[in-house]
Amino acid sequence: MCLAVPGRILAIEEKQGTRIGKVQFGGITRQVYLDFVPEAGVGDFVIVHVGFAISQVNEEEAARTYRLLEAMGLLESNALPQLPESSESPS
């Protein structure tokens, strides 16, 4: 339930006073709300939980995690969050 995954901000846009980022997780990109990480900018890594970035991580630390995850094959598993577009109603 408290699953949160590090990803990298590729772009940021403002919509009705809310900062929304395009965030890359491995090979996948998702829309993420950045209101709780006002300091984070394009290129920064954030930890994302239920569509919200809850912290900004430094790149060195994020890369360390990714090297470990990659070495253990975790990136191919289902550790990434569900796509918002596909999650409305499971059949």
């Binding site: 699953l3 809850i54 360390r64 569900q82």
Partner: protein
């Protein structure tokens, strides 16, 4: 096994494990609080890689598991109403109430929808203005800012057809309850990294000082957990009891202040019932009076629903670290993830469900 063999090849893991084996001189009982950490420990067999003297017990750290039966019953009652679209995180759909679950309500025609983020429930409310949209706002402190944002936006947009069924729980009061018990066996805690990402770890310093117990804030990958266990054992062997932060890449001392400000604006602390444990003082959040109009319990008049739990289930003792899943005669027999008797089997992150997935061969031949 593929994953465990590869994992044993990791130089970092080996180095940490080697130190752990060197440092340990006597038995220690450690508890991880978070169900995500329990899952990692079982999935990678960390409990079997660490020295035998170290026993890991599994805490009450799964908000799905500890959501009380009567709130699940309220969810089921709301989801069955023809005028309601009931919106939930996917984890809650299989969780049994006293007679049914949300999947069965959906199968019987209830409009139950799964979302990844709570803000999607607002979109559903905007595009279905003739229906009532109820969001099932469960979670620990990690999820509270996102849930708070949904109700905050609903209020500021003036969305009249949106409300929330809130079951928010807080970790430190549960740790305090465990440590206050005369039966407590836990000598060191692995604190939940994403809860502390939001809240920081000031509250854990009070716990550590009050009970003279070491606490290490940890992440969720195998190396994170092995490192945290090593840090706890160093402290225990040296007779120290303080809070240390292993998950530095995400957790700061103060936590996420913008998130905390929004949570405080929307929620206030209240007494809360935990499935399998009972009422824990000051261990939950409810909506503040300014947001009471968005409280689904109030909007739909569900205040009086009270129900009892299965008496066969030992999840109360498991959640407090007094027993482990394999101690239960019903485990993997009368109690399975498909037909769970209680809290710790209902969610994939529950201790019993994690054992069922990775260890049931040890009881079923």
């Amino acid at each position: 096994m593929k994953f465990i063999d590869e994992y044993r090849d990791q130089r970092i893991a080996q180095a940490l494990l080697a130190e752990l084996h060197r440092r340990v001189t006597r038995p220690w009982v450690l508890m991880e609080i978070c169900g995500g950490q329990t899952h990692t420990i079982m999935r990678y067999g960390i409990d079997e890689l660490i020295p035998r003297q170290i026993e890991l017990v599994h805490g009450p750290g799964c908000p799905v598991c500890v959501t009380p039966v009567e709130i699940v019953d309220k969810a089921i009652r709301l989801a069955a109403r023809p005028d309601v679209i009931f919106v939930s995180y996917g984890d809650m759909l299989r969780v049994p109430g006293s007679n049914s679950d949300l999947f069965r309500v959906k199968a019987a025609g209830g409009d139950v929808r799964v979302v990844y983020s709570p803000l999607e429930s607002l979109k559903i409310a905007r595009t279905n203005s003739d229906r009532q949209v109820v969001f099932f706002a469960i979670g620990f402190e990690t999820t509270a800012p996102a849930n708070a944002m949904a109700v905050w936006q609903a209020k500021h947009e003036g969305l009249k057809n949106f409300s929330m069924l809130v079951s928010q729980v807080l970790v430190p009061p549960a740790i305090r309850l465990l440590l206050s018990s005369p039966h407590n066996r836990v000598q060191g805690f692995i604190a939940p990294g994403h809860v502390c990402t939001v809240m920081g770890y000031r509250e854990y310093e009070t716990l550590s000082a009050d009970f003279h117990v070491p606490i290490v804030v940890a992440g969720f990958e195998p190396i994170d957990l092995i490192e945290a266990i090593t840090m706890l054992v160093r402290q225990l062997e040296d007779g120290r009891a303080k809070v240390e932060n292993q998950y530095v890449r995400s957790v700061s001392y103060e936590g996420n202040l913008p998130a905390q400000r929004l949570m405080q604006e929307v929620f206030e602390v209240c007494n809360h019932k935990w499935r399998g444990v009972g009422m824990i003082p000051q261990s939950g959040y409810r909506l503040r009076p300014e947001f009471a109009a968005y409280d689904a319990v109030r909007r739909f008049g569900l205040e009086d629903l009270e129900v009892a739990e299965s008496s066969e289930c030992i999840s109360a003792q498991i959640l407090q670290g007094l027993k482990k899943p394999l101690d239960c005669p019903a485990f993997a027999r009368r109690c399975t993830p498909e037909s769970p008797l209680g809290a710790t089997m209902v969610s994939a992150e529950g201790a019993c469900a994690a054992y069922y997935r990775y260890r049931r061969h040890t009881v079923l031949h």
